[in-house]
Amino acid sequence: MTTTGTTPHSGIQPGPVPADAVSPSTRSAGGAAAVLRRLWARPGSRIALVAVILLVLAAIAAPLLTSLEGQDPDSYHDELLNSVTGGSPLGSFGGISSHHWLGVEPTTGRDLFARLVYGARISLSVAAGATIGQLLLGLLVGLSAGLAGRRIDALLSRFTDLALSLPSLFFSIALLAVVPASFPRPLLLSIILAAFGWAPTARIVRAETMVLREREYVSAALLTGASSWWIARREILPGLVAPVVTYTALALPANMVAEAGLSFLGLGVKPPTPSWGQMLSGATTWFQVDPTYVLIPALTLLLCVLAFTALGESLRVALDPKAVRTVKSAKTPGRFRITGKAAKR
């Protein structure tokens, strides 16, 4: 539920990340187009990529989609509810009809499709904001630790350890409860998720930096009198692209789950703004009477997280040419078994 990142990055941190065999120049020569091509070449990755693109498009085009349906997320529809039976939706499957594609919410009659796509905006923007925040903080701390002297490294590393060991869920709950309601909620959620979730990125970046800074081309740059900033930006950063992008793609779904969890606990965006976590929390008591109401946000969240996670895995493979080669030569069906480091020796 939290983003201290237990699962997604366990395969790549901290030590020998596949990047150590490939020089940054090779990577940049491959370029984004090549990565995309490799991504597209594999059917699993293709599905994940298409799913993610569709999801993002749906979130962006939420007003368009709902106007296509002829609904909006906040309007009440008393006429679609059976007031005598606790305000449950009329009709089967939670009131699914040609006017309400996914049915309506019990006790209010608000359109669930509209709330779902508008909820995707909150889910995605909070998760994206949190992930970018984690990325920037992680890069800053990781690069500093990796490039600065031993003392600063020790200090920053212990600080990272501390951040990793914080019970972030409790801290998030406490913080969300005390910040005044006037502060924009999605921004607050992003900030809190980022503040408690940067440590894994920092560790990866530090470890990678430690390896890269021993390379000849970095030593050469040092000899020419380049500044630390120059080295970090021009020599180290390109080498970090693969592990960082991979980790980021895996952190995003984790952040989505975290946002849903906090919303579920009533600490997310304020009503009537729709969010998936809130929908799930409202649906829990209804699962026996109106299962559709529970299944819709739950399945959507599941599919989203699955798509993003699969995309992250695919990106990892696509970013590592060696891994791709191994996959091809070994003709192993399962792409998860073959990771860069496993295939090397």
Partner: protein
């Protein structure tokens, strides 16, 4: 001064504030199913199980309890001067003698009340109950270490505002006199025709001075009722056994059918409703005194006739309403207030509360379950779903042709669905409602302070007893505007003529006459649109398949634990 019933009702949790039945007949029809095989003469025996979510962590000190009409469980071991009439329908809102021979002899202006005790009354230890024990019980409730009861005594009794209870240097409250062991006289500083209703609260239960253990009295109080505590573990269980010194001959209001009552405390609402609906083993002999059905469970039960038969539907007199602060713009303008009344969509609000089985739309401040004081009116008819056109027109007249934006304060744990429903309805009338949800723990502090009170508040009000006096006085009496916290007159309305009218009705001791006048006063105030009444809640409650005589009393809108039988 008075408090909303959600804190005032001991044994009723905050979520289940009451409402009304559309017809009183609805009451008796639910009860008749179990009443058919019930005979009061032969109902004794068996063990009744009670499944409650309350933890009762403060125990049962009669001075500290805040009940309506003596509460559910406390009434099993505390008898009071008067009590509520145990019967279904409107008659259940009547107050009847309990320890006393009548409901009190008032003086000419209802400022002095005299009670005589029935002969042969005994505590559970066998000692006789005297008027001194009742005086001592009332005096204890003034002690600061036993605070928590209703505030009326301090306000009404002469010298009450400075009296510090029987433990201090000045132990005697002179305004309560006991001329002989069976007579007690209360001297009030003003006319209070409703005094017999207050005398049903647990503060009027006798406490033997010799057995008083101060703060520890709450775990093992001396019983005057049909049961006494055999064991009590706070947060877990309370077991009651018969009091051998109680007899039906002196008590006409408690049948006391079961031989034992086992109360489980601190259960979750879902567990209670699940166990009551399954009704397996001992749960067939089980009831609950504090857990209602939520909308989803109600929807589940709707398709199950056998469960429906085991559900009672009752109402506690409580109105959820919009309160305008007349000292703030734009609500100093009556046209704006009327516009807000016209734009309300009561159907959406009722559905948000769980539909017509759990809430009924209200257009009057006094709810219909307060039958005697209910004077129907609907001066600003919004129809079932609101009249945004009329509201827009009124707003234009008031100088807001392009609508307006206001902030709505509400208690997030009680009224969140109502607030979003209002926001939707008001949007159609050009009113942008910004939701200002306030946490339950801060709500009364923020709203009850005239300095910080918002312009628009969504809240609810319930009466401590079924009368117009505790319903209207705290809300509309200008002298009840409290500065610096604890204010409930949210309109801050102060009219000398209305205040005088309230004083005049308080002198009336005849219930029907007084209530009719409270009803008229409500209708008269309604014309000013000081509030927008929205709905009154309805409680749906399950009971075990083996439980009999589960009629609803209209005082509290619940079945009476002192009347049910498991035999």
């Amino acid at each position: 001064m008075l408090r909303p019933a959600r804190i005032a009702l001991l044994g009723l949790p905050a979520i289940l504030v009451g409402g009304l039945l559309t017809a009183c007949g609805g009451n008796s029809s639910t009860t008749s199913t179990s009443a058919a095989s019930f005979n009061a003469a032969t109902c004794q025996g068996g063990t009744l199980y009670v499944l409650d979510q309350s933890k009762e962590s403060t125990g049962y000190d009669p001075a500290e309890l805040y009940t309506s009409g003596g509460g559910a469980i406390p009434r099993l071991f505390f008898r009071t001067l008067t009590t509520r009439q145990s019967t279904s329908g409107t008659a259940g809102t009547k107050v009847v003698p309990d320890l006393a021979t009548d409901t009190g002899e008032p003086s000419e202006n209802a400022a002095v009340w005299t009670y005589h005790l029935k002969p042969g009354l005994k505590f559970s230890d066998g000692t006789a109950i005297t008027s001194a024990d009742i005086k001592y019980g009332v005096e204890r409730s003034f002690s600061s270490q036993l605070a928590g009861g209703p505030p009326y005594l301090r306000d009404w009794l002469i010298g009450g505002e400075s009296y510090q209870g029987p433990y201090g240097s000045n132990p005697d409250l002179a305004s309560i006199t006991t001329p002989d062991p069976s007579t007690i006289v209360f001297h009030l500083r003003k006319s209070e025709g409703d005094f017999p209703y207050l005398a049903a609260e647990t503060q009027f239960a006798p406490v033997p001075k010799a057995k008083d253990t101060g703060k520890n009295y709450n775990t093992d109080p001396v019983s005057s009722g049909p049961y006494m505590i055999s064991s009590f573990t706070k947060g877990q269980s309370l077991d009651l056994v018969r009091n051998p010194n109680w007899s039906r001959t002196t008590d006409s209001q408690r049948l006391a059918c079961p031989d034992k009552i086992d109360i489980s405390l601190g259960l979750s609402p879902a567990v209670i409703n699940q166990r009551l609906s399954a009704s397996i083993g001992n749960d067939a002999d089980a009831i609950t005194t504090d857990t209602t059905l939520d909308p989803a469970t109600l929807a589940k039960i709707a398709g199950n006739p056998s469960l429906k038969k085991r559900t009672i539907s009752g109402s506690f007199a409580q109105t959820t309403y919009l309160a305008f602060n007349l000292t703030k713009k734009p609500f100093d303008n009556q046209l704006v207030r009327e516009a807000f009344a016209y734009a309300v969509d009561r159907t959406a609000i009722v559905n948000g509360e769980g539909g017509s089985q759990l809430a009924t739309p209200a257009t009057t401040f006094n709810p219909t379950s307060l039958t005697a004081a209910y004077h129907p009116y609907n001066y600003f008819p919004a129809g079932a779903t609101g009249d945004p056109a009329k509201a827009k027109q009124l707003l234009a007249q008031a100088g807001y042709p392009h609508g307006l934006t206001v902030s709505l304060a509400y208690d997030t744990s009680l009224n969140a669905p109502d607030a979003t429903a209002l926001q939707q309805a008001y949007a159609k009338a050009g009113i942008t409602l910004q939701l200002n949800g306030i946490d339950d723990s801060d709500f009364l502090t923020d709203v009850g302070n005239t300095a910080t009170q918002p312009a628009l508040t969504l809240t609810s009000w319930g009466a401590d007893w079924p009368s117009g006096a505790p319903f209207l006085t705290p809300i509309f009496d200008g002298r009840e505007i409290v500065k610096g916290g604890g204010n409930f007159n949210l309109a801050q309305y102060n009219s000398a003529s209305v205040n005088a009218q309230i004083d005049k009705i308080n002198q009336i001791t005849d219930y029907a006459t007084a209530q009719a006048q409270w009803g008229d006063l409500d209708a008269q105030l309604g014309k000013l649109a000081l509030t927008v009444p929205l709905y009154t809640g309805v409680d749906q409650v399950l009971f075990g398949s083996h439980v009999k005589n589960t009629y609803v009393d209209q005082w509290r809108g619940w079945y009476d634990i002192a009347s049910v039988s498991v035999k």
